[in-house]
Amino acid sequence: MLEVRSIQKSFGGTPVLRDVSLTVAKGDVVAIVGPSGSGKTTLLRCLNFLETADGGEMTFDGETFRFGHVAKRDIARIRRKTAFVFQSYNLFRNKTALQNVTEGLIVARKVPRARAEETGMRMLEKVGMADRRDAYPSQLSGGQQQRVAIARALATDPEIIYFDEPTSALDPELTGEVLAVMRQLADEGMTMLVVTHEMSFARNVSNRVVFMENGVVVEAAPAREFFDHPREARTRAFLRTFGARADMGAD
């Protein structure tokens, strides 16, 4: 469904992605983990053309595109089949929860309002936010905003959803509600590429894990194998520091 080959990206001469490749099959939940600054966000942003990658190519839905040479029209077409969930939610501040969900349908896809609202309500129900349909983002908690953002992503019936650390801006007690929604999506067979620091999510929900460091993929493996038998020394070191940090967070 999605294959990325040798994507590269520099910011002002500093390479951030050097030759990253990865594959996401239909129905996969792929977790991308790695230390801060390793280029995870940049990777997702390049895949949705929020940043322009310098090199490499991507096959999406059977069509191959060379980064840096993708026509505007193709970008629009690919974006219609993808959705993005941001770390900071980025709900439209001047729109209600329901309007946030229907905006992409009514405005970008010309779906009639009544049908869009029907879809919108279904999606809000799915994330448990139907009763707050008329609330503005400023009236919602972080966890609620992120759930609305997930409903917005679902509404356009994407073939893949990119998540960039969807829970890391949330208070610990609010991450659970968002992760539960994501787990449900995974169970329903949604294809997802998830940058996360939630090791329990990576271990229990994703079926593949990609470990990135300094703009390269150090190790990519099925989730169970990645956690139980990491091959690379750097992966083991990462998992150890992670364990240590998680312990420290606990007390």
């Binding site: 949705n48 929020l50 629009a76 974006r79 219609r80 993808t82 959705a83 993005f84 941001f86 900071s88 980025n90 709900l91 439209f92 501040r93 001047n94 729109k95 905006e103 992409g104 405005v107 970008a108 896809r109 609330a135 503005y136 983002p137 400023s138 009236q139 917005r152 356009t156």
Partner: protein, 224 residues
Amino acid sequence: MNERLWELLTDSFWQILIPGLTMTIPLTVISFALAMVIAVVVALFQFANIQGLKQVARFYIWVIRGTPLLVQLFLVFYGLPDIGIVFDPFPAAVIVFSINEDAYCAETMRAALEAVPVGQIEAGRCVGMSCLQIMRRIVLPQAFRTAFPPLSNSLIAMVKDTSLASNITVTEMLMTTRQIISRTYETLPLYCVVGVIYLLFSTVLTKLQRVGEKRLSSYGAQKE
């Protein structure tokens, strides 16, 4: 206070209020509406970083904000006829006030546009909206919300600034006041009357601003 003076004051109150309603308010409303339209365009040129147009916008704002309004009025009304461009007083005032106000409103709008987080635009792109759709439905409404209080202040300032138009023979409130004074010699009371009328206008606008802000904040954006 004697009866004659009291009668003069009430009479002149209405005499001055009439040009207020027929001149000051139309001059303000027309000029401000024109100013807002151009201001949004000028602000968007800068926001969208369209080279060339952006420099023109910066130059325009630099000149207009750096020169007195009165000089601009004199230049257009008394100066331009020297090169064959003649305006009636009212159109001349509208041109100068809208161009002048525009420079200030454009700066307000630019700041308000820049205050919209880039994540709002990115979210719009991700749900498949075009640049134009994002501007119209997401960025501009939020920018207007931010810009509403400073724009209201500009509007209130402008009502008072229209008194300068008396200098280019527009018979607005101040001009009318002066005419009454030249007949009656009641200088102090009559300037007080016109001052009170300006105060009334400003008060009404301030009230409207409150109402507007309340309605906008009920849409929640940028509160908290």
